[in-house]
């Protein structure tokens, strides 16, 4: 047990070969029986028998005969006398015992006064103060050599035993302390390693003697903030145990999935469940990540509940929000090691999107934490009975707004590109500029705000993109502002179109357009109006240049229907219809016989109908102006 110690704590023992030597035995026999000759089996047996038979009353009754000599009176007298004598003796004995009791009691009061006092006589208590008597051995009679020797031997053995026991005890404790020291230093080494990695090591608030490590987020909601602390306990061998109390040990994470046409087409990366190296640091990291993820999901659900009006729905463990008609995003909290087969991924097409979203919500939560710190360190408002409501963090709203905005801008841009393509194919000189996300001005951030926060801040403000361009007629132009507000009503995306059509100064679009289709329709209409007026202008120009006789002058009494009318020399009416869509521009002319308008007999020879279509991907056809010039000249 204690071989590791070289401390000479144990007493040295001279071992004797045998417990008793023969001379000692012989000496004992001699002392008891005398000579060896007298000791044989018979005598020993006889002795044993004798010992057995000897009853308790073996030696008595010698004075029986004397009593017979006396007469009755004498006998009686003697009886009284003896009785008195017995009584006397008894009294005496009683007295003596009481004295002895008093004496011993008094003597004992020196040491244990309470108990001894109870057995003292009242008289003695009065006359002798407690503890006034002590005893000591004065000049003890010299003990005999043998007794002294005996005492010496016994106490020597006894003492030997004591020293042995003490040595054992000390060595045992030493071993215990040595292992304790070893595991303690191991424990502290690990604690120091944790601290040197930059973790905050502290005492546990409720358990002052235990150490803890703080890995959580100071600015999180209190329930999650308080979970960011785990005890650093010491295993028996001194290794560190991260004790998170009742918190689950599993790694959990928020998963983002994209559903396109009811098929899962994207999923964010879920971090591996348990790291390969099971170090204390990795366990702390895992605990930290889990608490962050759980808070993230908690906040997502909290925010989702106020977003019901925007199509966000929540289930027990799922948040679902739409980003366009065919796409929706699902967020749920999953165990990291859980297999994802419960929802088969159809493709990985939108993995990038899902990853981007999952990064975004995490960045936004970190931003919300920073904002909490900012708010917390500002002088608080005066105490009042109104409870301060912690606003929901902006996690879903900004990403929804961004996706929505981006989708609107993208489709409008596609639309604009198409329609301008058509116009250009038709030889109209016009162009547009798109400025997506023109509201994001990163350089405008106030210098006192850290760059990181400034960056995020820009994405929490209403998004705005602008499209502007000129149209076929000079001076005509339009401007579209698309705005999406993530945080405050009115939610959703609004189109704000303004046009400048000199020919139709009173034409203005509706003030609030909410859908992309409407906006596109309005823009198409303006472009069509503009073409109509371009044709009209062209006609006027033509008629100025040339003599009136062979040219038609187009006028547009019903510009909103895309109709132009002209009267040729022979008083025949001509009608020109312009129709514009995203993919094509079509211009048709019809002869118009007199005031009855659009009627012409089906049997009419077709040469009267001229039509030209410009399509998106068409090249090399005549321009619109040329066509007009041509059709105008025909009559």
């Amino acid at each position: 047990m204690s071989d590791s110690f070289s401390l000479p704590l144990r007493p040295l023992i001279e071992k004797r070969d045998r417990p008793d030597t023969l001379p000692v035995d012989i000496a004992q026999i001699n002392a008891r029986w005398g000579s060896f000759r007298d000791v044989n089996e018979d005598t020993l047996r006889a002795k044993i028998e004798e010992e057995k038979n000897r009853g308790p009353y073996s030696d008595d009754d010698e004075g029986d005969k004397a009593a017979e000599d006396m007469d009755t009176t004498e006998q009686l007298e003697q009886l009284y006398k003896r009785r008195a004598e017995i009584l006397n003796f008894a009294m005496q004995a009683h007295m003596e015992t009481l004295f002895a009791l008093d004496f011993v009691s008094l003597l004992l009061t020196k040491h244990t006064d309470r108990q001894a006092e109870t057995s003292m006589s009242a008289f003695l208590k009065q006359v002798a103060p407690l503890g006034s008597l002590n005893s000591e051995i004065v000049n003890p009679p010299p003990k005999s050599e043998a007794v002294a020797q005996d005492v010496k031997t016994v106490s020597r053995g006894w003492r030997m035993q004591n020293f042995n026991a003490a040595a054992n005890k000390l060595l045992k404790s030493a071993t215990r302390l040595e292992t304790e020291v070893a595991s303690e230093s191991k424990y502290w080494d690990e604690v120091l390693a944790v601290k040197e990695k930059g973790w905050k090591v502290c005492r546990l608030p409720r358990e002052r003697q235990a150490l803890g490590v703080q890995y959580g987020f100071m600015e999180a909601t209190p329930i999650f903030r308080d979970r960011g602390l785990a005890a650093l306990r010491r295993a028996d061998d001194g290794s560190l145990i991260l004790d998170k109390g009742l918190a689950p040990q599993k790694t959990r994470t928020v998963r983002v999935r994209v559903k396109h046409h009811d098929k899962f087409t994207g999923c964010s990366k879920v971090p591996g469940s348990s790291p390969a190296v099971d170090s204390i640091e990795s366990r702390i990291l895992q605990a930290r990540d889990t608490v962050y993820e759980e808070e993230l999901f908690h906040e997502l659900v909290r925010e989702a509940r106020i977003m019901g009006s925007q199509g966000v729905t929540t289930r027990q463990n799922l948040v679902r929000f739409p980003i366009s008609e065919e796409q929706e995003v699902l967020l749920d909290l999953v165990d990291a090691d859980q297999d994802t087969d419960d929802s088969k991924m159809e493709s990985t097409e939108h993995d990038v999107l899902a990853d981007a979203l999952s990064h975004s919500i995490r960045i936004l939560l970190a931003y919300a934490h920073r904002q909490n710190l900012r708010r917390r360190t500002q002088p608080p408002p005066p105490l009042s009975q109104k409870r301060r409501h912690t606003p929901e963090y902006q996690l879903l709203r900004p990403i929804m707004a961004y996706l929505q905005h981006s989708s609107h801008v993208r489709s409008l841009e596609t639309f604009m590109t198409d329609i301008y393509q058509v116009l250009q194919v038709a030889g109209l000189k016009c162009e547009f500029q798109a400025a997506p996300f023109s509201s994001v001005h990163l350089s405008r951030v106030h210098p006192s705000i850290p760059k990181v926060e400034g960056l995020v801040q820009q994405f929490l403000m209403p998004f705005e993109s602008t499209f502007s361009g000129n149209l076929a007629t000079p001076q005509s132009s339009f401007k579209v502002r698309i705005r999406t507000n993530p945080a405050a009503p009115p939610f959703g995306t609004l189109y704000d179109i303004s046009v400048n059509l000199p020919q139709y100064p009173d034409v203005q679009p509706p003030s609030r357009i909410g859908s992309q289709r409407e906006a596109a329709a309005a823009l198409t209409h303006f472009a069509m109006l503009d073409i109509v007026s371009a044709i009209a202008t062209h006609g006027t120009k033509l008629s100025k240049e040339r003599p009136r006789k062979d040219t038609l002058a187009w006028e547009s009494p019903f510009p909103h229907h895309g109709e132009l009318l002209a009267l040729s020399d022979d008083d025949r009416g001509h009608k020109l219809i312009v129709s514009l869509s995203q993919n094509e521009l079509m211009v048709e002319t019809f002869p118009r016989s007199g005031p009855e308008g659009l009627r012409w007999s089906p049997g009419d020879p077709s040469p009267a109908v001229h039509s030209q279509t410009w399509k998106l991907d068409q090249t090399g056809s005549a321009s619109l102006i040329d066509f007009i010039t041509e059709v105008s000249r025909e009559w």
Partner: protein
Amino acid sequence: MESQPSSKALHYRINTNISQLLQRFENIMATATTESTSHTSTAVETYQLDVESTALVRAAEDILALTRSMKETWLFGNLNTLGEDEADVKRREKLENDATAIQKAIEDEGVLKAAAK
């Protein structure tokens, strides 16, 4: 905000423990030298030996406890809450750099504009 033991108290504790260790060991040794004259005195001696050895162990344990509390004092003693430490600075700079890179990507390389195409 825990009150830290003063260095004086720590010194005192160390000294007490050391003298205890010595004293108790001496006491044990001393019992070995006395010649006992009766069984009573030997019994007393036995008891004494038990007390002394327990006290010796206790003193050693207290030294261990002392080192632990000193380690804790070391760990928590010098508060360093003001300003940023090295790790903070590093982290902040890294963040700023990342933010700058993103800003650059958005502003110069037109990440947002390209997204619309």
